[in-house]
Amino acid sequence: MTSRWMTLLLMTRLLAAAVAVLLLLVHRVTAYDLGLIIATIAYSAGSLGILTAVPRLQLSPAAWLVDCAAVLALVVATEDWRSPFYILMLTALVLPSTGQPFRRAIAWGLAFALAYLGVALYTGLEENTLESAIRLETIATHLMVPLVVVLALAYATDVLERLRDERLRSERLAVESERQRIAWELHDSAKQRVHAAHLVLSALQGQVDGDQAQLVGHALSELRAAGADMDTSVAELRTPLEGRSVERLLDERAAELAPVSEAKISVCGTVGELPAHIAAHVYRIAGEALTNAVRHGNARHVEVLLVRDRSTATIEVRDDGRGLPPIRRPGANGLRSMRARADTIGATLAIGAGADGRGTSVVLSLSTEPDQGSAKP
């Protein structure tokens, strides 16, 4: 969203700077017009360059304030409130209008209009100005335009944000009902067929012998495994976490593991709210890491740290055990399934030695920015 408004700023500011330069070239405004042209180019190029290079500043009120102050200074420098920099000045409102909640954006617009009124008074709103109807209308228009700009942009931002929220919500609902449908079909149709095949085949078991009996036995165990796989998938599809938080489930998992292990397990922090299917994968990755640390790591302490900041959620599972084995244990597909899950939700998974070279550290981090498409469908 921000980058779209940054594009608007880029285009309007370049255009407004060109207009200002043109006006300065055509009309003699001050005794130092050449200096002003250089200042205009420096200001426009400089501000756009910095904002593009450091995207963080696009959402920083301090940066907006500096920008507004700089452009008002240009207006003051022309010694007239009907300045060639007026349109350039309006472009300083793009980011404050779109980067904050509606009411705060309006307050910002009002403050800006007042500041402009101050500039107008300072640069000579002569005593008789208010007596002249035309001048009165001009200053009123000049004061109104920033407010209208802020109102329009803030309103558009608000509407776009609502639309995006609504779309995300309906997408989530659609995904949810699709999951329910798949779970249903898996249980109601595919699994019934597997059961039927197993039953029919099992009737053969007593009637054949030798190699054939072995083949039937093998097929039966495959069918049983298929049934068990389907049960797991159905359970995961239906109620991923049954509405419980990741940290609570990890706490419960730790309590389950505690009696069978020497290690002291602690779980602290929170990852906050995550979409249900992402939370399910996050829990299963962290749960697997925790189980590995307790079962295979020979650790004395196992710590699970959950951290959520504005744009990322991070979970670290670390222990002081003997670390990762140099050669993979045969049949261990835990790590592989953790990586596959991390890929599915677009998270990064780092598995390595602990900070002091001892033990194992598993760090899962994922972006929680909704429009970065953190989950693959």
Binding site: R181, H187, H195, L199, S202
Partner: protein, 193 residues
């Protein structure tokens, strides 16, 4: 000769069961019923010895259906043949008067054996564990626990009614309510518009 009526809504399961039962000497599978409405005419016409009943059926579930089948005189033996093999049906099945409980993942020999034992008048039910009882106790009201206890001890309905000093119909009604509270909910897919 053992006459068996199959009730299952899934065609693959009906066909598989019929074929497997027909292959076993001494077993005669009758017309398989796909739904509750199919069941009654077939049941009245054929008078089977054993009804092999799926748990999940469109409309009523197998437990409710079993209660109704058992009201028939003479009532056939009822074997609940379910995909829910994790024990969650054990207590509700006992309350519903199921005679045998076999998981759909069990081999055919286990099914044959269970049917033969039912015909001999035995029952084939998994044991009830301490945890299952505790869990059921948590979900039932205090006035329902004596009924649960006596049902598990195979106390006849009339005797339960006499012990508690209430009408037999009231006992039956309460048992229906308890089954409803304890049974496994199968989430159906939400209607999408």
């Amino acid at each position: 000769m053992i006459r068996i009526l199959i009730v299952d809504d899934h065609p693959a399961m009906r066909a598989g069961l019929t074929a497997v039962l027909r292959a076993e000497p001494g077993f005669v599978p009758l017309d398989a019923a796909a739904s509750v409405s199919d069941l009654w005419p077939t049941l009245n016409r054929t008078r089977p010895d054993v009804v092999v009943l799926d748990y999940h059926l469109p409309g009523d579930d197998g437990l409710v259906l079993c209660r109704r089948i058992k009201r028939q005189l003479p009532a056939p033996a009822v074997l609940l043949y379910s995909a829910y093999a994790d024990g969650s049906l054990t207590i509700p099945a006992r309350l519903a008067g199921i005679d045998g409980l076999v998981g759909k993942a069990a081999p055919a020999s286990e099914l044959y054996d269970a049917i033969r034992r039912l015909v001999r008048g035995e029952r084939v039910l998994p044991p009830i564990s301490r945890e299952m009882l505790d869990d059921a106790g948590n979900r039932l009201g205090p006035d329902e626990l004596p009924i649960l206890g006596m049902t598990i001890d195979d106390t006849p309905l009339l005797e339960i009614a006499a012990t508690l000093g209430i009408e037999p119909t009231e006992v039956a009604h309460r048992i229906d309510r308890m089954i409803k509270r304890l049974k496994v909910e199968i989430p159906a897919p939400r209607a999408t518009t």
